[in-house]
Symmetry: C2
């Protein structure tokens, strides 16, 4: 057996080496094209500066869809079309306010807050109530008898010791997602949540919450880190301080949005699909440059680069700009639903939704044989910064098709150190994106998909 | 032999695994300390915002040395002292000017230029001359008969296809370093050099030149990328355009500067030294935050973290803030000279001088046995972003001791995508440095040096 293997190897190795060499040359061609002629950065400039924040249901959503169609056509797609899907329609309304009201009557600047997405508003009169700070859900439970009639202030700190900052996010985001309902259970009238960030500034970071349908819906806001620290100190010094909170947000009836889909038709297996995408929506209060304008323009760039370099994939490559990730995940769900309905054969779904920073890896979820294959590509992708192919991962938009049809899913993993400085905050702007970092992410995606098409 | 090895391995493996486990715990302790309590970012704020640009010989150099002594004492050094060394004293002088002079008399905005470090000035009347653009030294040679009396414009483009941007720098920097003398050889009266950058802006990037002592010294300036493109276009449309250039820089007599040196005394081999450093000087026209304030504060942080965590190295750790890297490399030379004179035993010299960006690797130069040892540390450093230990490298400040005494040398390799956007330009400011990226670099350095001390 060993001898047989040795013979096999001595025969097969030069072939493997030569295939790797050819793949390496092709990926280098893609990289040179992207690093020299990419339109990703200019596309991002238009999306962020001319359209800006584009929450589902907003006029900017419609503009962004039009932009997506035009950008995909310009990139050379064989066909571009829209997939209609119902999306939530949450609106922030006018000016939001939060002030500490103290018997001391000293001057206190207003608090920098943002209503959480999907939150109810306070009504025109606002809410005025005493504040109780809790460090965690355990702390909330310990203080459950003191919650009634109060505003609960979740002051859970983003943990700086997670090197991969998404782990800190996973650790802290439950206070944003569940904090309102868990406080409402004990009679709270509103919640203020410390922002999920270790930024060095006072931007509040919004993001969606989920109400437990069995409990009253109470208003919820995020607060900037400096104000969170100030408020915490104030409550120590001045236990009778109240907060006046006013938000004007509301959830309207669902409305119509669209996934924007483009295809580069496969040369010989056109009825098999490989999906590459990002999400087109963003929070209303920022340009959504890293989240997720970057993922959209990188996905478009994959198509443009293939056309420019003359790569003719065997399968049909579908670029999808998903309709609604931030406060509903309806885009990814609709895409999966239609794929199932039409009995489509999908080979892989890859998304980029962790920022346009310099890439480090591609995380994935699939069976062990396929994963083992991916691991052999490391030397091909490492020259472009992608050295880690071992992590498990997927994402909000490719998750539904993975769950519905068992499609292997993957996500680009960029360096995460800067991401939560700007995530869901007003400072997520075009200027924070570096042109070459953005492009290298697109190179990694294009190289990976080239290998998937060839070897899966 | 094989059997013997197998026996050895089965006995030794658990020990190796357990040592790796302990090392992993120690490095995690260092990382938690740095990511939670680092003073690197605040130190950098003071150095860049309160002192600013600090070229050798400037008043800011003296302030920076005082800052270094205080910061190293605050970090807990056993001893801090200065090593005197002579440094070049080049001064830029007042307002620099460059204008296109055209017979067309249309309005042309002034060109954004900066004299190159060590350049002579134009004199009070400036230089007015026709311009000849060359694409490369080959092109200069081809046009050598047309050079006399002209200003040579080196318009060599920074190559975007090098993923590691230092390779693009290595490719292009000869036009800055040698361009003046090579043009002077054919009678040029001044040179304008396209900046070594793929930034999306018009900042000129300075840096030092070297005059060939056999040739006349002519003035040399860097020009911003947008103005370089504009000038190139102008010369195509309007071949008779002249340029008026005025710079007021001059090289004065050498003056006195200092390496700032701190020691954390070794527990049992105190007479053996491990050096960790960055350079304290920077160009005059920027804050020198990435180049190389970052390397200085990271080096200081290594010492602070060891003290905080209670690591007592066997060897003496020397933190060195080198006096003069930008336009003379005298600090590193003096350090090597003194080490040789005193017959010191040095184990390793590590520098950080490629920016405070998120780390990717440590490059090194040493004999094969030692390099092989370093390669076994990959799994210990990869959790902090350092996955590449295979590259050859060193640096301007550790190079002299490597050459003089054969000391193994190494350098931190941060992600390089953003570095040449700001390198030697006015936009190299504190705001461009990300706190966590800076800290992760310090973690990588501290972890690496911990392993060097233990296993070298």
């Amino acid at each position: 057996m060993k001898k047989y293997l040795a013979v096999l190897c001595s025969w097969a190795l030069p072939l493997v080496a030569s295939a790797q060499h050819n793949d390496s040359l092709t990926i280098k061609k893609i990289a040179d094209e992207v690093l020299t002629h990419s339109t990703a950065y200019e596309n991002l400039r238009v999306l962020t500066k001319q359209i800006g924040g584009r929450l589902a249901g907003s006029p900017q959503m419609v503009k962004a869809e039009q932009w997506g169609v035009a950008a995909l056509k310009a990139a050379g797609a064989d066909t571009v079309y829209l997939q209609e899907c119902m999306v939530p329609h949450w609106v922030r309304g006018e000016r939001e306010e939060a002030r500490i009201i103290s018997k001391r009557r000293d001057f206190i600047p207003p608090l920098n807050i943002l209503a959480l997405g999907n939150s109810v508003g306070t009504g025109a009169d606002g809410v005025t109530a005493p504040v109780i700070e809790v460090a965690s859900f355990d702390d909330l439970e310990a203080k459950k008898d003191q919650i009634k009639g109060k505003i609960v202030f979740y002051n859970y700190h983003f943990n700086p010791t997670f090197v991969k900052t998404f782990h800190a996010y996973g650790d802290a985001v439950k206070y944003r997602g569940q904090g309102a309902s868990r406080a409402a259970k004990y009679g709270a009238v509103a919640v203020i949540v410390r922002s999920m960030s270790h930024g060095q500034n006072n931007f509040p970071h919004t993001g969606s919450l989920h109400y437990d349908s069995a409990l009253p819906q109470i208003p919820a806001v995020a607060i900037g880190l400096e104000d969170a620290d100030m408020l915490s100190q104030r409550l120590k010094d001045d236990a009778t301080a109240n907060i006046f909170l006013k938000t004007n947000c509301q959830m309207l009836q669902d409305t119509i949005g669209h996934n924007v889909v483009a295809e580069l038709r496969g040369s010989d297996r056109a009825n098999e699909f490989i999906t590459v995408g990002g999400h087109l929506d963003s929070w209303d209060i920022c340009e959504g440059a890293q989240d997720d304008g970057a993922g959209c323009v990188q996905s478009i760039e994959v198509l443009r680069a293939y056309k420019a370099v003359g790569i003719k994939p065997s399968r049909t490559i579908r670029i999808v700009l998903f309709a609604n990730e931030e406060n509903g995940a309806r885009g990814g769900s609709k895409y999966a639903e239609l794929a199932k309905e039409r009995n489509e054969k999908h080979i892989m779904a890859l998304e980029s939704d962790a920022g346009g920073y310099t890439p480090r890896g591609i995380a994935s979820t699939m069976d062990a044989d396929k994963r083992a294959k991916i691991l052999t590509w490391r030397s091909l992708l490492e020259p472009y910064g992608i050295y880690d192919l071992t992590e498990d991962g997927g994402g909000t938009d490719v998750g539904p098709i993975h769950r519905a049809l068992g499609v292997p899913m993957a996500e680009l993993i960029p360096d995460s150190q800067r991401y939560f400085d700007v995530h869901h905050a007003a400072n997520d702007v075009f200027e924070g994106v570096n042109k070459r970092e953005l492009e290298l992410g697109a190179v990694g995606m294009a190289g990976f998909i080239y290998l998937v098409d060839k070897y899966f």
